[in-house]
């Protein structure tokens, strides 16, 4: 084997080995990424408009959302997940603000940060009326806090 063929075979070998290792590592990462999430759906129905009272928002435990109903403005749905580290915030009717128990973030009733470490406002989700007359929330569709559904 002369120098030229040694180098060309050698470099081909290094490239083959390198790409083999690279592909394997990629495969490992892809293996660790779940192909299916066995998690609650992002789009779900929460009941008929009549189920919700005016005034104080209704907190839906499993969906982690607040459903606001206002006599003039209609329905709005806010996320109960703190934008800081994912704790569940609580709404206090007394000061009309959201309070996070973990690190003390406080959000105004429109979701904006009043103080605390939270970097962003609480998210508001699109709420629509489904054909069967139920309210349908889509967590994949983030809307401005001014969004309202009139029923």
């Amino acid at each position: 084997m002369n120098r030229r063929s040694f180098l060309s075979w050698g470099s081909a070998g290094v490239v083959a080995l390198g790409s083999g290792v690279g592909v394997s590592l990629g495969a490992v990462v892809r293996f660790l990424m779940p192909s299916v999430f066995y998690e609650p759906p992002q789009v779900f129905k929460v009941g008929t408009p009549a189920d919700f009272a005016f005034g104080a928002p209704t907190f839906l435990v499993d969906e982690k959302i607040f459903v606001f109903r206002d006599r003039e403005k209609g329905f709005a749905v806010a996320s109960a997940v703190c934008t800081h580290l994912g704790c569940t915030v609580a709404y206090f009717q007394s000061d009309q603000r959201f309070h996070c128990p973990c690190h003390g973030s406080v959000f105004a009733s429109n979701g904006s940060v009043v103080h605390g470490p939270a970097p962003k406002a609480l998210q508001w989700y699109e709420v629509t009326l489904a054909r069967d007359g139920q309210l349908r929330v889509d967590k994949d569709k983030v809307v401005p806090s001014s969004y309202r559904l009139m029923v």
Binding site: V61, L85, C87, T88, P101
Partner: protein, 428 residues
Amino acid sequence: MNLIREIYQSIVRRDPLSTDKGKSELVFLNVWLHIHPAKVKKENLKFKHTFYLGFITFFLFVILVTTGIALMFYYRPYPPHAYQDMKDLQFVVFMGPFLRGMHRWAAHGMVVCVFLHMCRVFYTGSYKKPRQFNWVVGVFLLLLTLGLSFTGYLLPWDQLAFWAITVGTNIGSYAPLVGGKLREILLGGHTVGEAALLRFYVLHVAILPSLVILLTVVHFWRVRKDGGLSRPIWKLKTNKPEQLVTIGVPPQTAPAQVVAASQEKTYGLMEVVTGKPIFETVDPEEEDDAVFSYPFAFFREGIALMATVTGIMAISLFFHAPLEELANPAKTPNPAKAPWYFLGLQELVSHSALLGGVVAPTLMVLALLAIPYFDRNPSRRPSERKWAIWLFTLFVVANLVLIVIGTFFRGPGWAFVPPWVHVVAGAE
């Protein structure tokens, strides 16, 4: 009778322990003991030089592996069952609370001892040449210890576990670019759920312990190769040149000959094993200080092992590992606190998630890793490395203060509440 003797001698092939040769052979003919030198310097064995923190950490790890395997017989890493199994361990399984207690307290103890061990190594300057890389290995062992604690924290699947991990993994998601994906891979989902529990379990019982064992082997091997336990330099006797005796001969010169060594001295054996100090000049005073590992070192290690095991057992008899109510994703406890060793981090995070949760800890780890390469000062004497000692002490104190604040001074809503103020309203 002859057959019995023959069998015994086929297993134990060393000379009797009453002889020096037997004492040496006990060490280097035995696969488990041969990490020791045949002889050690008596000075190095003194408790107050190392506080045996490395040994104790290792023994705690052994306790953790043993009790952990026992707990695995009664634990299913699946959401509703996991918590039921904890309840079974608490009330049904024979010695369940005791085993769980031992596992929990040994885990806390390991975090503490690993940290104290690091402090001891720093303050004695033992990370300096040629031990720089072993310090790096040690830093990774510290990180693995924290990783084991963190993954183990989720397994009981109670409120404490669920929210500590929710907060903890959300901290990670602040890492730029990869953060979100990293969290998704770690949890196997977008929230802490059944996939997360299974992943944490696999990490906790298989992957992380294997890595710890791997690095521990390297760590011990290097300690041994670098001349054994590193005592404080100010305990080293100063060389008096006129008394030096050359042992062995330089490589070029022909047959090796041991100078001024009595027939009973067997350091030849240990020196050949390390391969290093064979051409070293040794202070005769120091040389006289060397004792056989058997029984001197083994006895002390045995005492440290006994003390560690009985200590953990005693604590576990009187204090049981806590278990809160079943994990409830809907109800965040107030305040939601991470495990105590992460409360310093949580305190930082309460000020800024990116700076406190990602930037500060990353810099801290990088700084720790860089210490042996950044610190060019060859001296190990405290009086000659004031800056290093001040900086490291600052690092230790800052961490402790943050942990104390996070643990004792934070009440509902992470408000600053001194521990002597009894919080009544809104605590639940």
